[in-house]
């Protein structure tokens, strides 16, 4: 009770007591962000000035022209001159607003001459990033929320970046014009990073363009802003802007890791290795719908499931290709062979499904596009 009461007090005096209560748009770090911020402030101040003037007249009237003060009503009720004036003057003010608005908009739409292209695909409920490379060696990965369920359900203290943290952020080089090609795999999402002033809807069947040039290194956080289903609030965007040199090194490391991964796919893994990796994959990709203990939720239960404990090829097909018309997605686009094999092994042996089946990466070859 006391905590709630102090919370109430804090909330009421929020703007005075805590620096964390941001009340205005952030100018962000990019040139466009600064332009939009200036435009926003300009329009806001014009509105404030007009509002103060109009309400001053109204409140003066409320004060001075009261019946209780014995004010007699005049009976004037029209004036063409005044009507023309308050039609024309606002129109001119609007033209004054439209000029900077137009030039800023044209800037936002200047998608040409990008030095790096990143394809961003919205999935329920994670983002996929793919760096388009003319040699065809695209780097691609999914970016999943890492905030644990315990924090969301209040059994553990919430971290600093609660709901705004991911396993693999989008990495981009500074001082480079990066073009984002934005689309979606299932429903409409929207990719937004306030400090980069980039927001574009991710629409299945469409590829939208947006761009940014980030002048300073840093971590910029945002969220999906178009309602996309149950976990719409749980698909953050995190962007790391690093120096171009660091970016090169990161790319090389990613390519190396991808190669090692495909080497691994040729090998036979131990049951322990598969179970350990399978558990990790399950928690990021399956747990939200099928329950942390395989008990089910939006999706069917995994524990004791006849599909999971039945024929492997059917189980594999559902995981890889999804189930049309349901929230069960095709995971072949999201997981590589090792991950698919691991998660299948895990599902077939965890939560009391002790089938003893071991699925090797070789068994799922041809099932993965990831």
């Amino acid at each position: 009770m006391g905590r709630i009461f102090s919370g109430v007090l804090l909330a009421l005096f929020a703007s005075f007591t805590a620096a964390q209560n941001q009340v205005n748009m952030s100018p962000g770090v990019t040139e466009i962000g600064a332009d939009i911020f200036e435009l926003h402030m300009l329009i806001m101040w014009i509105c404030v000035v007009i509002g103060v003037a109009v309400f001053a007249v109204m409140f003066y009237s409320i004060y001075a022209h009261r019946k209780s003060r014995g004010h007699e009503a005049s009976q004037f009720h029209e004036s063409t001159k005044v009507e023309i004036a308050w039609t024309v003057v606002p129109f001119l003010i609007l033209i004054g607003m439209a000029v900077p608005a137009t030039s800023t908009l044209l800037e936002v739409y200047d998608n040409d001459e990008a030095e790096l292209d990143v394809l961003i695909t919205g999935h329920q409920w994670k983002w996929k990033y793919e760096y388009l490379d003319e040699t065809g060696e695209n780097i691609s990965f999914f970016s999943n929320l890492t905030t644990p369920q315990e924090e969301i359900y209040n059994t553990e203290a919430k971290g600093d970046h609660y709901l705004l943290e991911v396993d693999e952020p989008l990495v981009i080089p500074t001082n480079t014009k990066v073009r984002f090609l934005i689309t979606a795999n299932d429903v409409i999402h929207s990719w937004w990073v306030p400090e980069l002033a980039v927001k574009r809807d991710a629409i299945p069947g469409f590829i939208n363009e947006a761009w940014t040039r980030v002048p300073q290194e840093g971590i910029y956080r945002g969220q999906c802003t178009e309602l996309c289903g149950a976990y719409h609030g749980f698909m953050p965007v995190v962007v790391h802007a690093v120096s171009p040199e660091e970016f090169q090194a990161w790319q090389a490391a990613k390519r190396g890791a991808a190669q090692a991964e495909s080497q691994l796919a040729m090998q036979t893994l131990s049951a322990d290795e598969l179970m350990a990796q399978g558990k990790a994959v399950y928690e990021t990709s399956c747990g939200a719908c099928h329950g942390a203990q395989g008990e089910g939720g939006i999706g069917n239960a995994i524990a004791g499931s006849s599909v999971v404990m039945g024929d492997l090829s059917q189980h594999m097909a559902i995981v890889a290709k999804g189930v049309a018309g349901t929230a069960m997605q095709a995971f072949d686009a999201q997981l590589n062979e090792v991950e698919l094999a691991a998660v299948l092994t895990y599902q077939r042996n965890a939560f009391g499904n002790n089938t003893g089946d071991i699925v090797q990466p070789g068994d799922v070859t041809g099932m993965s596009n990831g």
Binding site: I43, H77, T104, L105, D201, G205, L227, H232
Partner: protein, 526 residues
């Protein structure tokens, strides 16, 4: 005429069979208030979950059902029917007509509403839950990815559309054909004017909405692909169609509210409405412009830049006639003889808060800035300033203003004033901070949020509980008035009130203007 003077039929079935405009108006008003409480309850669930970061009360999927039903029930169940109810009660009395032009259809257009909402509410108990795709129901979330209850939702929307279209046709027919001798168009009270224009908007756009949901139905059950990219369809097409309905819908809600305020401000300023003719033209301009601005809800879908510019300029233009209205209202008050009974307080509250919502609307119209505002709490704050402080405040003002005329009893003025101040303060505590969290980056329609938004969300929730509670006071005040309010018999009730509805006895008899009155004075003059 003596033997035609009769009261209502006896018994409960009277309400089912009635074709009397006053009875039907009453039905609409009570129904919409019930829906207002239901939609308000959903809002309380939303604000309770958002009281603190983390998930406490409901699951994310259920949270989405709450936001969806809150929007649908408030827009289609509370606000729209309440103004239809007001139109039923007032339009015949304001133009000197004995009843609505099409009384049997009037009965029908009300009585199909309750089953439609019963069906919509019942989706909460269906497998897969109620619709959870937002009141804007964007495809493919509302088609391929929707719960099975979406079919019931579509049927409910169809019925609401039929009801609205019938109601509008009735209003148009009544205003065009049943005005008393001498009541020319330019003598009609502003409320009648705004409703006439609203009715045309409704007839124009409800079929568009019906088309949209029918295409959804085809996509879901008959294998078409209107909105599915995989089958060659276009999810953005859905948004164009929806907002071609949706933007005029906003004015459908707000124009009658303008009409109400244009009746009440002159009455308590004891001075005619300033610029009557320009008010009519401004209303018509707003209605016209509302058809060519729809895509300002879609600045981020990736329209070509020429489209963005067109919709930005057209939207900015709406500020001009809206400004004219605000200036006219203030000029009406200027050098009047003002008093501040509850209806006037709510009207002034409307004027201040609606103007604030208008300013944020202007900000939102600026396409590049909208890239930062779009789908954040800034938008939520904006449209609640227009919808709640606009439409709901004006509706509340209307009830306090005309209730004594309807039932011949006076409401408790002190309770009315308390209701106003609690509403006004509660409303602003709820929605003002939402501008801040929106600008700071909080998306709308999320059940849980990052920690930097916590303080303002808590504040917003507290305000919402205050605002919600104040509506129970309103309900109590209205019931107490009807049951045991102090009797009034003065025809005018308010010394500044003008118009034909104040020339009939108080309380208004079951049948009025069976003999048409003769109108000679222009509207709004003494």
């Amino acid at each position: 005429m003596g033997d035609h003077q009769h009261g209502p039929a006896k018994g409960m079935l009277r309400w089912l069979y009635t074709t009397n405009h006053k009875d039907i108006g009453t039905l609409y008003l009570w129904f919409s208030f019930a829906m207002f409480l239901l939609g308000g309850f959903f809002a309380m669930v939303i604000r309770a979950e958002l009281f603190q970061p983390g998930m406490q009360l409901v699951e994310p999927a259920f949270f989405n059902q709450m936001t969806t039903l809150h929007g649908l029930v408030m827009v289609f169940g509370a606000i729209m029917p309440s103004f239809v109810g007001l139109a039923n009660w007032l339009i015949p009395m304001m133009i000197g007509a004995p009843d609505m032009a099409l009384p049997r259809m009037n009965n029908w257009s009300f009585w199909i509403l309750p089953p439609a909402f019963l069906m919509l509410a019942s989706t909460l108990f269906m497998e897969g839950g109620a619709p959870a795709f937002g009141w804007t129901f964007y495809a493919p979330l509302s088609t391929t990815y929707a719960p099975p209850s979406v079919t019931f939702f579509i049927f409910a929307i169809h019925i609401l559309g039929v009801s609205s279209i019938m109601g509008s046709i009735n209003i148009i027919a009544t205003v065009m054909n049943m005005r008393a001798p001498g009541m020319t168009y330019m003598k009609m009270p502003m409320f009648v004017w705004t409703w006439l224009i609203t009715a045309f908007l409704l007839v124009a756009v409800m079929p568009v909405l019906a088309g949209a949901v029918t295409m959804m139905l085809m996509d879901i059950h008959f294998g078409t692909s209107f909105f599915s990219a995989a089958g060659g369809g276009d999810p953005v097409l859905f948004q164009h169609i929806f907002w071609f309905f949706g933007h005029p819908e906003v004015y459908i809600i707000i124009l009658p509210a303008f009409g109400v305020v244009s009746q009440i401000i002159p009455a308590f300023s004891r001075k005619p409405l300033f610029g009557y003719a320009s008010m009519v033209y401004a209303t018509a301009s707003i209605a016209f412009l509302s058809f060519v601005v729809w895509a300002h809800h879609m600045y981020t879908v990736g329209m070509p830049v020429a489209g963005e510019l067109f919709f930005m300029y057209a939207t900015m233009l709406i500020a001009v006639p809206t400004g004219v209205k605000v200036f006219n209202w203030i000029s009406t008050m200027w050098r009047g003889s003002l008093s501040f009974e509850t209806p006037m307080l709510f009207s002034i509250g409307f004027l201040v808060l609606f103007t604030l919502g208008g300013f944020t609307g202007l900000m939102l119209s600026i396409a590049p800035a909208d890239f930062q505002y779009h789908d954040t709490y800034f938008v939520v704050a904006h449209f609640h300033y227009v919808m709640v402080a606009g439409a709901v405040f004006s509706m509340t003002a209307a009830i306090y203003y005309w209730l004594p005329k309807w039932c011949g009893r006076m409401y408790s003025e002190s309770m009315g004033k308390i209701h106003f101040w609690i509403s006004f303060i509660g409303f602003n505590i709820t929605f003002f901070p939402q501008h801040f969290v929106g600008l700071a980056g909080m998306p709308r329609r999320i059940p849980d949020y990052a920690l930097q938004f916590a303080d303002f969300n808590m504040m917003s929730s507290i305000g919402a509980f205050i605002y919600g509670a104040s509506q129970l006071l309103f309900l109590y005040n209205v019931i107490a008035t009807i049951v045991s309010g102090e009797r009034v018999s003065d025809e005018k009730v308010w010394d500044g009130a003008e118009g034909l509805e104040w020339t009939v006895p108080t309380p208004a008899p079951y049948h009025t203007f069976e003999e048409p009155p003769l109108v000679s004075k222009p509207a709004g003059t003494f």
